[in-house]
């Protein structure tokens, strides 16, 4: 993959003497100290990151941490105080007005928290705005607007006014307006922040859905951690204008860089971060043919397991539980039961990428969950207890998973 957007050592100081403030920052003074001493507000300090083509890069942080400032520097709405922003090798931070206009018209669109639709124009005219600015003739831009509206499911509303639409629909228009100009990069500043939770969820799904075909490079601002987890490949966490950690959701949750990040991810929906892969263990199996009930019981007793997967060649035939087998042993003295009879064939399965969230239901059945690959071969099993322990966050991450040594290392890192 190719780097689309590369930001290095980006600063934004509001007010005051910029070079003096940069000097203070270099001396390690904090945002608060600088504000008290010079009256200058540090918006963003020393931000560096790269966004690959087609990636959704999420920026998170508390209110006032500089997210909006950061994202507005990317399209030059705010002029950086220092640093470099390369888009396809062109430095936005150094661009003059004409160059900035060209970049905004062709490469970058923005989607706003409060939609920012023009109230006096119809939905279609709003969507076509980027094209109008570029000088595309009316018939052509209307055609394109209708095409994009079709994509976001709003074609029937093309000639309504934005005020006739619900919040969720208005933001679809905002999204369509961003997409109509066919930019490479979408900047989204808390685009779903003003929507109620149900609609927000729907919009997130819609975005992911569109992204499958569009493959835009997206910089997505949010302060909803679960939204970040759902959308983001990589997440950058900001504090006082600094990016304190960049990484995937798993990386950040398992190894938070500092207390701020740890506090941030404390109330995370772990069920969405971790997958079956993180909690599974190597399966202990027995073949269907040639294993007696008594053998199975013995194996379980030795391994401390309360259920075993029964294999029929490469295929999983079913699962037997200690309780069932022991019970049948006790009563069936005369005619000894076979594994075949005691076996439960309706067993829960999952793939390695299934989130813990989705494992929660199957785990309720009490049976170990079979993790299979796309050809139905058993890769591992997930013990119900491990799902619950991991969801609550007190289990060591991936305690029984295959790459054991790595797990131990991450475990030792400070929390």
């Amino acid at each position: 993959m190719q780097t689309k957007l590369s930001v290095s050592h980006l600063f934004k100081i509001f007010g005051g003497n910029i070079s003096a403030t940069l000097q203070l920052l270099r001396e390690g003074k904090s945002k608060q100290e600088i504000l008290a001493a010079t009256g200058a507000t540090v918006g963003v300090q020393d931000a560096s990151f790269q966004v690959e083509e087609g990636e959704i890069f999420v920026v998170m942080g508390l209110s006032g941490s500089g997210k909006s400032t950061l994202v507005r520097m990317l399209n030059g709405l705010i002029t950086p105080s220092a640093g470099q922003i390369l888009i396809d090798g062109e430095d936005v931070a150094q661009a003059d007005k004409a160059a900035l206009r060209r970049i905004r018209r062709q490469k970058i669109s923005m989607i706003f928290q409060h939609f920012a639709l023009f109230p006096h124009w119809t939905v279609a005219d709003n969507v076509a705005y980027g094209l109008k600015v570029r000088g595309v003739p009316p018939a052509q831009r209307r055609a394109r607007a209708l095409e994009v509206l079709e994509q976001v499911g709003l074609a029937p509303w093309a000639d309504s006014l934005p005020s006739d639409l619900s919040g969720g629909m208005q933001q679809r228009v905002g999204l369509a307006r961003g997409l109509a100009a066919e930019p490479d990069i979408l900047l989204m500043d808390e685009p779903f922040g003003a929507l109620d939770p149900l609609i927000r969820r729907e919009m997130q799904m819609e975005l992911l859905n569109l992204q499958k075909t569009l493959k835009k490079t997206i910089v997505f601002i949010t302060h909803d951690l679960n939204e970040a987890l759902l959308l983001g490949g990589r997440i950058a966490i900001m504090k006082d204008g600094r990016i304190v950690q960049t990484g995937t959701a798993q990386e950040i949750v398992t190894a938070p860089a500092d207390d701020y990040v740890a506090a941030f991810v404390a109330d995370i929906d772990r069920g969405r971060v971790f997958t079956a892969d993180d909690v599974c263990s190597a399966p202990v199996t027995i073949p269907l043919q040639g294993t007696s009930v008594r053998d199975a019981l013995r194996i379980m007793e030795q391994g401390g397991a309360h259920a075993l997967y029964v294999m029929e060649g490469e295929r999983v035939a079913g699962v037997v539980t200690y309780r069932d087998l022991a019970a049948s042993e006790l009563e069936g003295g005369a005619a000894p039961t076979t594994l075949q009879q005691a076996m439960i064939t309706e067993f829960p399965t999952a793939s390695a990428g299934t989130s813990l969230h989705d494992l929660y239901g199957p785990a309720g059945a009490g049976l170990p969950i079979a993790v299979t690959d796309d050809r139905d071969r058993l890769l591992a099993v997930v013990q119900p207890g491990d799902v619950l322990a991991h969801l609550s966050g007190d289990a060591a991450p991936a305690d029984a998973a295959a790459p054991a040594p790595i797990t131990e290392e991450t475990d030792d890192q400070p929390r």
């Binding site: 060209r102 018209r105 920012a116």
Partner: protein, 310 residues
């Protein structure tokens, strides 16, 4: 008691005299004379046109406009009011006054709206413009009548210039206000899509500020009407002259008739323009449409008649 006047007296009036009579008038009189040409031209056209259109047609046009913008009651008032003016023999004077008012408002709009736009775009321009507008509004109009006569002479055009000085501030102020009040995130959005300053002005700022600008024009119109009598002192004709003549001859009847004419005209114009401003529903109208409406009501009579309310 000691007072500053014991220490020194300043011949302030002499200074002003020296400045205006000694420097401004001899050097710039021709320039100022030339500057009033566009005003006289427009006024001439309008005056001819308004007098040319038969009274019945004019009244019908105004009544239709009043119906469309302010409702049936206002339409009836317009019919009765204009008929009354005609019956007391002041129709021609009223049309002259109307031509003057329209000319003043037209020039106020042509100068004031761009000035307001400039002021909205730059804090520095606004900082300079604001005290100037304050002075224009607070200085008693009699004070600048004298220099205006010296520079422009007497007549209709100087009267309109005095009117413009007095009536200009609201449209500048409200244009500035309307544009500055356009939501910041909309401006940001326009900018984020790479619009130029002109595109932003035309697509976003003017349409969204239109309602406020119209309110400003309405105020300007009312101020212009209130200058009618004063402007007549320096040779502007129309209803103002009727009032002044009545005053000079202690002719209570004549002065009252002129005054009533002004009041009827003021009420009609005020309601129509106010209705227009209110109907400039930001959600529904494009700038072009709204301006078309405006000119339909101002200018031609036929279009307003055919166009029904709704």
């Amino acid at each position: 008691m000691i007072s500053p006047a014991d220490l020194a007296t300043l011949p302030f009036d002499d200074w002003v005299n020296a400045f205006v009579r000694g420097w401004l008038v001899p050097n710039f009189r021709p320039t100022f004379r030339a500057a009033q040409v566009p005003i006289s031209t427009v006024l001439g056209w309008l005056d001819t046109f308004f007098r040319f259109v038969p009274m019945i047609v004019m009244t019908a046009a105004f009544a239709a406009a009043a119906w469309k913008t302010a409702g049936r009651g206002m339409a009836i008032f317009t019919l009765l009011g204009f008929a009354f003016i005609d019956m007391i023999g002041l129709w021609n004077d009223t049309m002259t006054t109307l031509a003057m008012i329209v000319t003043s408002v037209l020039f106020c709009a042509v100068m004031g709206i761009p000035a307001g736009i400039l002021a909205a775009r730059s804090d520095t321009v606004w900082r300079i413009m604001r005290p100037v507008l304050d002075i224009m509004q607070t200085i008693p109009s009699f004070v600048y009548l004298v220099p205006i006569v010296m520079l422009f002479g007497v007549g209709m055009a100087p009267g309109i210039i005095a009117t413009i000085v007095f009536a200009l501030p609201p449209v500048v102020r409200l244009t500035n206000l309307g544009i500055r009040n356009v939501r910041g995130d909309l401006i940001e959005a326009a900018e984020a899509f790479g619009s130029t300053g002109w595109q932003m002005l035309w697509d976003l700022q003017l349409p969204l500020a239109l309602r406020t600008i119209m309110a400003g024009l309405n105020q300007t119109l009312m101020l212009a009407l209130s200058m009618v009598v004063i402007a007549a002192l320096i040779g502007a004709g129309g209803l103002g002259l009727v009032v002044n003549t009545g005053l000079g001859r202690l002719d209570v009847g004549g002065a009252t008739a002129g005054g009533v004419g002004i009041v009827i005209l003021a009420i009609v114009l005020d309601r129509i323009t106010q209705g227009l401003a209110e109907r400039t529903n930001v959600g529904k109208l494009s700038l072009g449409q709204a301006l078309a409406n405006l000119f339909r009501l101002r200018g031609s009579s036929a279009a307003a008649e055919t166009k029904k309310a709704g």
